[in-house]
Every structure is written in C-alpha cells, then in structure tokens.
Symmetry: C2
Subunit: 148 residues, 2 copies
DNA sequence: GTATGTGCAAATCATTTGCATTCTC
DNA sequence: GAGAATGCAAATGATTTGCACATAC
C-alpha cells in the first residue's frame, strides 16, 4: 500500500525534481495528524519536534504538494490560507460559523453527481470541489451579532 | 422596488452608521456591472470615472457591504480576495480552471437541499454557501500542464 | 559536476492602523 | 457640536525573491 511519502517521491521523480530530506520531513509532519494546517502552524510543529526546516521551504514545497494531489487549499481565514489533506482522506465539505469561526466538517456525496453533470455540460476535466456552507452555529445562533 | 442603494442606506441607519457620499459612490460603482471585482479593480474603476475614494475607504466599506448582504467574498486568488454581488443576483457557483484561471458560473439549485439538511442536522442558521468546482477547462483540457 | 534546493535577509504586496481633518446627524 | 468617517502615511503580516552555499542525482 502506497504511503503519502511514496506518492510524493514518485511525483518528484516523474517531474525531475529532487527528493530532499526537508521534503520528506514536511510530508511526514503534515500527515502525522488528520487536521487542517497553515504555514505558521506547520512551521511551529516542525520546530517543536526539532525538525529544522525554514518557513521559506514550506512555502516552496506546498505548491508541489498541491500539484501532486496530496493536499489542497481548504479555506482562507485570518489573512492566510489553510490547507487540508486529500490523500487518504474522504472528501468533506465545511460548515463555518460566521461569528465564532468554528469549522465543522460534513460529508456530502451528492456533490459527485453535480460534478459529473458540470463536467459533461462544460467539457471540464473535473479535479475536485470545495463546498462551504456558512452561517451561525448552534452556540452563536440567535445572537446574530454585529461586528464592532 | 428597492435598489441596492436603498438597501444599504437602510442598513446604515439601522446600525447607527452614516450615509456618506463615498459609500454611495462605492455601492453604485460595484453594481454598475454584473461582474466580480477586487479592491484594486474597484479602485481603478473609480479613479477612471473621476470618483475620488481612497483605497482605505474601500477596505473599510467592504465589510459593511458584506454584513448588509449586498455582496459576499467569492474566491481568493492572486494573493487577494475577490467579491461578488448577492443583491439582485441569483446565487451561482464557480467552475475554475486550474491552468488558465478562467472562471465560469453555473447554477446549482440542489445545494439548497443540502443546506436544509445540514441546517437541521447541526442546528446551524445557514446564511449561504460557496461551491467551487475546479479542474481543467475545455481549452486546457488534456494539456494537464505542470507549473514551472 | 551540474543544476536544483535550502535558508537567510531583504523586498513586495495586500491589508490595517494612528492620527489629523472633515463631515453627517 | 459630538462622534463617525475619510485619507494620508506609516505599520503590519503573509508571501516572494536574490543570492550564496549545500547537496541530490
């Protein structure tokens, strides 16, 4: 069974890129949890584990991870992008609270049908989708708060 | 029939905010086309029309427009956010080409059912959604290009 | 050996903030 | 007239780039 490291190594080879220790470290760290991540978080996780990889390298490696199909951009919040795993994870959608920022995940298989329809209609080679539903969560519900 | 200007004026009044000429100019400019926009584009459109409104004011007024329900964040690309109209527009989803960046719009009424289901299941007060399908468009299809 | 990758420091770009001035209510 | 809004200039924060050195192939 192929691991994410295998997938990435193959991707690098196919594309004439090099298999460096930093790249392996980053892939391992990203897939060591099931959670979403952002650059800063990832950098700190690496630092705490005494893995020395610079922020710059993270920025440079992320596009490769996306292109290789291991991860994708998930949502943009607090001025920066958040990423999520694709490899080894079922696709899921996000439910975001406009007030407290909480993010829930849910599964929505019916989108597959939408993809198929769209693909045919627009002659698109569909690679994926992102569905985000936003509103007020059960805690913030009814408050309907205004920002300052 | 209420215009976007009316809606915004009411919103301002209800929230104890002021109805300034800059705010009116911005709303008018945004709704003068049916297109998506970003801050820089909007700033330049205003400038070309000899409407003097600073970039800072645009940044400050956009959150009000979102809160008032006139516009919403649409997608994040090229390092900045793009916005789209809600008022006077049927909701639509986006189809984005990973290669050339082209964005097509399509209607997908079935998402309403998804919203209702989610709303009930998670006790969420749903305010809207964003669905983006990405892949290679008919022009870029088959190329499956790699970035540099 | 060569070209690619890394990491530092500096640069860039979008967005935010401090503050004096202007204007709506 | 008081509090809010504007616009400038400066600050901030994320991301990118130039460059010297290191290293995978």
């Amino acid at each position: 069974m192929k691991t994410e490291i295998d997938v990435f190594r193959e991707y690098l080879k196919e594309n004439g890129r090099r298999n460096t220790p930093e790249r392996k470290i980053i892939v391992e760290e990203i897939f060591s949890t099931h959670d979403h991540f952002d650059v800063d978080e990832l950098y700190n996780r690496l630092k705490n584990n005494k893995k020395n990889v610079s922020r710059v390298s993270i920025y440079r490696i992320i596009p490769l991870l996306i292109d290789s199909g291991l991860i994708q951009e998930s949502y943009f919040e607090d001025g920066h992008c958040h990423y999520e795993h694709i490899f080894g994870h079922q696709h899921h959608c996000h439910l975001r609270c406009i007030n407290c920022g909480k993010i829930l995940e849910f599964r929505e298989p019916s989108i597959t049908a939408v993809e198929a329809r769209i693909s045919k209609k627009y002659n698109f080679e569909v690679k994926g989708h992102k569905l985000e539903v936003f509103g007020y969560c059960s805690d913030c519900n009814g408050t309907n708060p205004k920002f300052a």
